[in-house]
């Protein structure tokens, strides 16, 4: 710690930072623009000027930029000094000479850092009477608007985009006061993290295009703390709603998970909540076709839905299928409803690989790195996974880990890490080694020391060889080629040289051998390090790990289908799972046709729903609470942003209501246990004035009131049922938690027009919807700031209306949020019985199987994920339908890149264009998941492919016709 004196008051601050970092960490208000907590200092804007004095006798002092001045021992500064204040107001005045007076029509208004800083600096009167410089704006694609006239040239956008996110198509152009931040010409910003520009830009140059098409001021958005649903990383988000529509998603800071940034899929993929594929009403198949019951009969129909569900669950020949894309609570309610015939929703291949993933995480010599931990590694091996497309935010973290070599070099040269430009200048192209063994090229190739593209079996074999090379006790594959041996030696040398090596693998290839090889590498490294070696396993869906932990020994989809086929199962209930993504279509069609009854609970119209006798509308993440377990086994709670309409209710609500008796019994047990324990969820009180305490009453948590089951009761019962999940109740405070005696308001305290929202229907304002399920209320009354992080709906502090206000809630800039952790890690304790053993089943080398091609999955950040692919802006960015072939295979099939090929997979016929890529190993066919109707079900067996002579290239992507056909292929026609 270092002592600094600010305005004659002494403070202790952590050593080695700059004065701006120190002042903001202390909770002081000091305006800034070019500095960003993740990007460091460059000294461009000159906004954070303070007066620095040599000692207590120095009365003159001199103006310095806080961001460029080290907070050295005894540093004596004044923020309040009149000259420094005058200078800061002068800087704003200069920035404002060119800034338009368009706040009333600017989308940034109300959450604009420039507005906030202008207010803070006291620049209130415009003296500049000359003309302004003006710019032409650019088209930047479906995600981002561009309004360059608002630019104050803080340089943060290009520093974020180029240096941090690795993009190259956003540049600073021009000079003097005509500097321009844009592309060389109009066109889509290609980097998949471009959406963060919306939050990185301190004013309204880059704004969210999806939001502006359906715009509402920040202060009118009802928000809730939420978790992204589009991959297993579990980024924390803050979605906003008004008029019953989800309007946008912004980042919600979590130090360990997503930090300040989201990927574009997470930010712009929310359209499925509002989309035309969305289900709101109970539907029943009549005479072979689906029809929605009339408005008058709707209530009765919902009740009929309940009855049908109860009848199905009451029968012994019913089976139920859960889902890795929905919450633990939903899955647990299903499990409770039909324990005998419960299927977790995984295919056999998925089930096997998920159980391997859980086993790996429970090994004593394997550590589970959080996404933030990845940044601390000094060598990273990625085995099999294309992380940019399957776990995008991890790719951003890996990028920083690779860059962080610069910080080590700078430290050795005496340059502080926050001197961003100087650190980069010193390091030039020096990077920490990244090694990628994948099936195809990836976006990280450019920063990797070693890239090699191999068939999945060969990736696993090389992985085993690397493990053996690091520790000779690990089993070695036999008959490796000389090239493979040489490659393994190079990788071993890099990993052996590292102090903090880290391994990333994943389930995307559906290859258990790859996971086992990765585990062996981590195990052999851990022997060398004499500590658990971090291994991160990327998983397929937002709750893959939770579903796997909950249903470790449940039936697979194949087993359930067998039950249907042999007549043991006559009725099926499917919860938020499109079985056609996982099963052979022909087999599934036949099985579903055999059923007496199929009930689907889902929020989207899917191919499975199209087969159902009853479709019950489920709540999305935006209308319900739930707990998800991310790929590092962190249980995190999401909360409803707004109440569901019509028949919409959460899956667990449908299920508990269908079986109230059972739930009353479960609830009595858990409630007793809860009241026996003292439930103390007292939040950590820190130095910061903004953090308060959340009091929890003596009420037994999750008590059933009048036969209604609460989600806390389900969570509690779920935790009690499975020891690995025991801690999930601590993911967030329970519904009884109160801040300052009230529920946490989802609406900002400036929420406007509440009484007028429904005035076109009825001028009397209805009572606000009560929310007994969570500690949050659908209200604007209450305290928006003194909250534990897991309950903070959006980021706002007095005088700091933008997301920049996050430093008011961090214990220290870039540190953990004050008020206790958000979410809870479940697998940090290794399994008691787990012994440090090696995996020994090494697959044989990949051999092309005659004229058949081995299908391997390829992933695309835009298009591969089931829910986000329904959002229009994501569709506009998805690649054109294709399959990928090695040039040798293309030559054998006599096709070129303007040809199509046809093949049959998973019971469906495909006819797709060819993309020839030399990176892909020969003998495999790359199938892009989610593109052209291809799903993981198509990966099951080698494919016989033929040239399609009648194939025509499809229209360019983004065309609505293409989108509709794609959805039809994936999930049938819209209702």
């Amino acid at each position: 710690m270092t002592k600094i004196i600010v305005d004659d008051k002494a403070y202790e601050v952590p050593a080695g930072n700059n004065l701006l970092h120190a002042c903001l960490s202390l909770g002081l208000d000091l305006p800034y623009f070019c500095w960003h907590p993740c990007l460091g200092s460059v000294g461009a804007c000159r906004q954070c000027a303070v007066k620095q004095y040599q000692d207590e006798n120095d009365s003159r002092g001199r103006i310095v930029m806080a961001c460029m001045t080290p907070a050295s021992e005894g540093a004596r500064i004044s923020v309040a000094d009149p000259q420094a204040r005058d200078f800061r107001a002068g800087i704003i005045e200069l920035l404002m000479t060119n800034h338009p007076h368009d706040c009333p029509v600017c989308e940034e208004g109300g959450e604009c850092h420039l507005q906030d800083m202008t207010e803070m600096s006291g620049h209130t009167f415009r003296r500049y009477e000359q003309t302004k410089r003006t710019h032409r704006n650019q088209y930047l694609g479906p995600f981002i608007n561009h309004e360059m006239n608002r630019c104050i040239a803080c340089y943060r956008c290009v520093r974020y985009y180029q240096d941090y996110a690795g993009g190259s198509d956003l540049q600073m152009l021009g000079a003097h006061h005509h500097v321009y931040f844009g592309r060389h010409c109009d066109g889509t910003l290609e980097n998949p993290f471009s959406g963060n520009l919306v939050e990185v830009c301190p004013t309204g140059v880059f704004t969210d295009k999806t939001f502006s098409q359906d715009y509402t001021r920040k202060w009118d958005l009802q928000c809730a703390p939420s978790i992204c649903q589009h991959c297993a990383v579990g980024c924390n988000t803050s979605p906003g709603e008004r008029y019953g529509r989800l309007k946008r998603i912004v980042n919600r800071y979590h130090n360990d998970v997503n930090g300040y940034f989201l990927c574009d899929r997470g930010r712009f993929g929310y359209g499925f909540v509002n989309g035309d594929q969305r289900l709101h009403q109970v539907m029943r198949r009549q005479g072979g076709s689906e029809e929605t019951t009339g408005q008058a009969a709707q209530v009765a129909t919902a009740a009929a839905g309940h009855r049908a569900l109860a009848e199905l669950l009451a029968r012994s020949d019913s089976a139920v299928i859960g889902s890795p894309r929905t919450s633990l609570e939903n899955n647990f309610a299903l499990l409770t409803a039909a324990r005998q015939h419960f299927c977790g929703g995984f295919s056999a291949a998925e089930q096997q690989i998920m159980q391997t993933a859980v086993t790996n995480y429970r090994q004593p010599d394997i550590g589970i790195p959080s996404p933030a931990d990845i940044e601390t590694a000094d060598a990273i091996l990625i085995l099999g996974e294309d992380i940019l497309n399957t776990a995008p935010v991890l790719a951003l973290r890996v990028r920083q880990a690779v860059r962080n070599r610069a910080r080590d070099l700078a430290a050795a040269a005496g340059i502080p890490a926050w001197q961003d430009a100087a650190v980069q200048e010193l390091a030039q192209q020096s990077r920490n080694p990244l090694i990628q063994l994948t099936v195809d090229n990836t976006d990280l190739d450019a920063i990797a020391a070693i890239n090699r593209q191999l068939a999945p079996a060969d990736i696993a074999r090389l992985g085993f060889a690397i493990a053996h090379g690091i520790n000779s006790e690990a089993p070695a594959p036999n008959d490796l080629t000389a090239a493979e041996t040489e490659l393994a030696d190079r990788v071993c040398a890099l990993l052996n040289h590292a102090n903090r090596p880290l391994v990333i693998t994943g389930t995307a290839l559906l290859s258990t051998a790859v996971l086992e090889a990765a585990a062996n590498i981590a195990k052999s490294l851990s022997r060398k390090l004499d500590a658990p070696c971090p291994l991160h396993q990327c998983l397929a869906e937002c709750n893959s790990l939770g579903a796997a932990m909950l249903a470790a020994d449940s039936a697979t989809l194949e087993q359930t289908l067998e039950g249907v086929e042999d007549g043991a199962i006559k009725r099926l209930l499917v919860l938020e799972n499109d079985l056609y993504r996982r099963c052979d279509s022909r087999r599934l069609d036949a099985a579903l046709d055999r059923l007496d009854e199929l009930i689907v609970i889902d929020h989207q119209w899917t191919a499975t729903a199209a087969k159902a006798d009853w479709v019950l509308p489920a709540a999305t993440f935006a209308e319900s609470e739930g707990t998800l377990v991310n790929s590092e086994a962190r249980a995190q709670r999401f909360f409803a942003v707004f109440p569901g309409v019509a028949d919409v209710r959460a899956g667990w609500q449908w299920l508990t209501a269908a079986n109230p008796g059972a739930w009353a019994a479960i609830d009595a047990v858990t409630a007793d246990r809860a009241s026996a324990e003292t439930v103390a969820v007292e939040q950590v009180a820190t130095e910061k004035a903004t953090v308060g305490k959340v009091a929890v009453g003596k009420v037994a948590v999750g008590k059933v009131a009048a036969g209604n089951v609460t989600i806390d009761a389900v969570t509690k019962a779920c935790a009690a049922s499975q020891p690995l999940l025991a801690q999930i109740v601590a993911a967030a405070p329970p519904a009884e938690a109160r801040s300052q005696g009230r529920q946490v308001p989802r609406m900002p305290h400036r929420y406007s027009g509440r009484t007028a929202i429904r005035a076109h229907i009825n001028v009397s304002e209805p009572k606000q919807t009560p929310d007994p399920m969570s500690a949050l209320g659908f209200t604007m009354e209450g305290d928006p700031t003194h909250l534990p992080p897991a309950l903070r709906p959006s980021t706002w502090a007095p005088g700091w209306n933008s997301n920049q206000s996050i430093h008011k809630f961090q214990q220290e800039v870039n540190g953990e949020l004050a008020g206790g952790p958000s979410g809870v890690r479940l697998l940090d304790e290794p399994a008691a019985a787990a012994a440090a053993t090696w995996f020994t089943e090494i697959p044989p080398a990949f051999r092309a199987a005659g004229d058949k091609l081995q299908p391997v999955p390829l992933y695309h950040i835009f298009g591969s994920e089931e829910l986000s692919q329904r959002a229009e802006p994501i569709q506009a960015r998805r690649p054109r339908d294709y399959i990928a072939l090695h040039p040798d295979d293309a030559a054998r099939l006599q096709v070129c890149s303007s040809d199509g090929i046809s093949f049959s997979a998973a019971g469906l016929e495909f006819c797709l264009g060819v993309r020839i890529t030399a990176a892909l190993p020969a003998g495999v066919i790359g199938l892009p998941m989610g593109i052209g109707g291809l799903t993981p079900a198509a990966l099951a067996t080698p494919l016989t492919v033929t040239k399609a002579f009648d194939w025509q290239p499809p229209p360019s992507p983004g065309d609505r016709a293409v989108i509709a056909s794609d959805l039809a292929a994936n999930g049938g026609a819209a209702p």
Binding site: R46, Q130, I415
Partner: protein, 483 residues
Amino acid sequence: MITRPLTRHIDLSRPPYDLAQYEDAGGYSGARKVITGMTPAEGLQLLKDSGLRGRGGAGFPTGMKWSFVPMDKDNKGDKDKKGDKDGDKAPRPKYIVANADEMEPGTFKDRLLMEGCPHLLVEGMLVGGYILQADIGYIFIRGEYVEAAQLLNAAIAECRKKGYLGKHILGGDWSFELHVHTSAGRYICGEETALLNSLEGKRATPRAKPPFPQVSGLWGKPTIVNNVETLCNLPPIIEHGADWFKQLSLTGDAGTKLYGVSGRVNNPGCWELPMGTTARTLIEEHAGGMCDGYQLKTFLPGGGSTPLLLPEHLDTPMDYTEIGKLGSRLGTGTMIVIDDQVDFIGALKNLEHFFSQESCGFCTPCRDGLPWVEKALDNLEHGRGSRADLDWLKRATWMLNMGNTFCAHAPGAMGPLESALKYFPDEFEQRLAQSAARRKSVTEQTAPPDSPLEAPLPNSPLKTHLPNSPLKTHLPNSPLKAP
């Protein structure tokens, strides 16, 4: 005894010496002497003893600047000594860069050196490179200096052939390569760290200091950047010694200086004279005095970014110390003479227009402050000025001062403005009075003038508040207009 070490081989009536001619005239003897007869440390000591100060404008002692470059520790073969590790080896490669991006308004001295005797600069780079044990040298030359670049490239080719450049120069251990890099052409490229960025192919934006280029310069490696004239002084210093160099000067700052004069004088030009020659000698003896009918009003002693001096300062010796005492800077030593008949405010605006255009756009005060300064001066020049314009000019000299901006560009631009406000307040007041009179005459006119831009607003309630507002062009038919 040599009295003009820099220009003795220059005769603009003939082509510059080629390598053979230059060697016949004694060239490369300094380089030979230092490479074959001195250690780098001895060379550096000689440089320190000579008192040479950087000729690019700041006048920083060259020897001291160079002493911050990390050097290999000499362990004399004693392997057991603690110091014999990689850590005692200086980072490699090391660079020496000649700043030949001569863009300062009114400055043309380096051009004379490079076009008149390119081998002198190459020899200077060779001497400097050896003293620093640099591996690679660059001559970063202004894009418009096409002829100089051609001559330097020819000289370098000759040297490479002869073995003055390349591996094991003169049979020793030291190897050195030299390249000419043509600037993409902005004033800021002359700022040493912006120059390095430009040389790396990046935007010419200055870098924060520390770290200084001596530690982390070109491509993150130790780098020295010096002006052409500074480097050209090295061979004669090596050859003739520190004492000889000091006695060349009339004052405490050692050596000779290339002085130049431009403006309304009879014989504008550039001359090598003893350091400390007075401005009066320069103007009256060498530049042939003021043109007929023109009086000296003021002068910028060392280029466009140096604060103005007055006729009363003509007898001050022109060296770093003495000019500094007057609140100005010697700069490049090439003065711009402003006479009594030039439009003083217009000249000032012209100067600020240059600085405004040449701002790199990185920091706020410079990027957004200089255009406002230019516009305020433009208002004053064209009779549209107001008290607010003058207030801003005064405030700008504080806002854009050293330390408040990222580099020295904006403070340099404020030098002439601040001194103008100090020495010639009447010029500004007079323009204000003219502006007020003009406004009055415009508002008193009953019939609208021809230009819609000048349309009067006789009865507008806005007129008293917004005399210069662009709004007035829209208002004649506005409902706001009083009946």
